[in-house]
């Protein structure tokens, strides 16, 4: 199974990199862009894992390592397998 985990700053945390990208977009004329949040993407291959396994495993890995729960949140999805 292949899963994708998206880690990004919590809404309450300022994302200076996202702000800088937003400013650049404004400079380029994309006035419609009102906010940019930047994050990290991880793709994990899980051997022999069922959907149920992934539902336990992935949030655990995200919380313990991939994201720092003090400043970051995460979302995840299954890309391949079931």
């Amino acid at each position: 199974m292949k899963v994708r985990i998206l880690v990004s700053f919590k809404d309450s945390v300022l994302d200076p990199q996202g702000q800088t990208v937003k400013n650049a977009l404004h400079t380029m004329g994309y006035a419609a862009v009102t906010d940019v949040r930047q994050g990290k993407v991880f793709e994990l291959d899980l051997e022999g894992a069922t959907r149920k396994d992934a539902e336990t495993l992935v949030p655990e890995i995200a919380r313990r390592v991939l994201a720092n729960p003090i400043i970051e949140k995460f979302d995840w999805e299954i890309l391949k397998g079931r």
């Binding site: 309450s12 945390v13 200076p16 990199q17 800088t20 390592v65 991939l66 720092n68 003090i70 400043i71």
Partner: protein, 246 residues
């Protein structure tokens, strides 16, 4: 007393820190390898600055899994003194020995410059050789030193007096301009509730000799020496004489 400086792949202030402790402060100091399990009987563990594991994932995020860090965690839980400098501070945050997290500097620049920090509490084991309100001039060199903690944690830190150093100007005033990295509440260094673990972003080892432009960093090392040697009556400094620098 004996210091131990932990070396990770990517540490780059390890030798500077050993030099400051061994040659300047004249205390036995050993280099500890992050893959070992033995703290070699040190009285104080120092996590030096650098870019452990290339800052991959997040600064300090991988170093916390090193075998020796499990020993450091137990050492700290038993009351052992742990000092984290820059990347060492980031590791202590990731390890959970200190509360909060580091964000990228507010201006997204790597900052390498001298700053002023104010001692907020001179009763800690890391500041007792100084005075409350004393301003130290010490360099910083970091990309991720913008201290952040949720409001609830910040409230606890302030209530319990855990903020030990704040960025200030040369006169000791806490101003917006002096807060170069954008840290919450101008925080440059905090201690844990128990008082035996401290992390700070500035590099005291880079300000321990006049040749380097400042000797102010010695205050922190001298405080640790004072705190740890005071417990052994035989080596107690002469009464009535308060050691300030060494």
């Amino acid at each position: 007393m004996k210091f131990g400086v932990v070396r990770f792949p990517g540490s780059n202030c390890d030798f500077d820190t050993v030099h400051a402790l061994r040659d300047v402060m004249k205390r036995p100091t050993v280099m500890l390898w992050h893959k070992d399990h033995d703290l070699q009987g040190v009285d104080c563990v120092v996590l030096p600055g650098g870019f452990s594991y290339g800052d991959y994932l997040r600064a300090g995020a991988i170093a916390r899994f090193s075998p020796l860090m499990q020993e450091v965690k137990a050492f700290a839980r038993d009351g052992g003194r742990v000092l984290g400098i820059c990347n060492g501070f980031q590791i202590l945050l990731e390890l959970g020995l200190l509360p909060g997290a580091m964000l990228r500097n507010k201006n997204l620049k790597f900052l390498c410059q001298h700053v002023h920090i104010r001692i907020e509490d001179a009763r800690t084991d890391f500041t007792r050789a100084g005075q409350k309100g004393q301003v130290l001039r010490i360099p910083i060199a970091h990309f991720d030193g913008n201290y952040y903690a949720p409001a609830r944690i910040l409230k606890d830190l302030e209530r319990d007096g855990q903020v030990v150093f704040r960025y200030c100007d040369a006169g000791g005033k806490v101003t917006a301009e002096a807060n170069v990295n954008g840290s919450l509440a101008h925080i440059a260094g905090i201690r844990n509730k128990e008082g035996n673990v401290l992390g700070l972003m500035p590099h005291p080892e880079r300000a321990s000799e006049a040749l380097l432009g400042s000797e102010d960093g010695r205050t922190i090392f001298a405080s640790l020496i004072l705190s740890l040697e005071r417990r052994k009556p035989a080596r107690r400094p002469a009464t009535g004489k308060k050691a300030r620098h060494d």
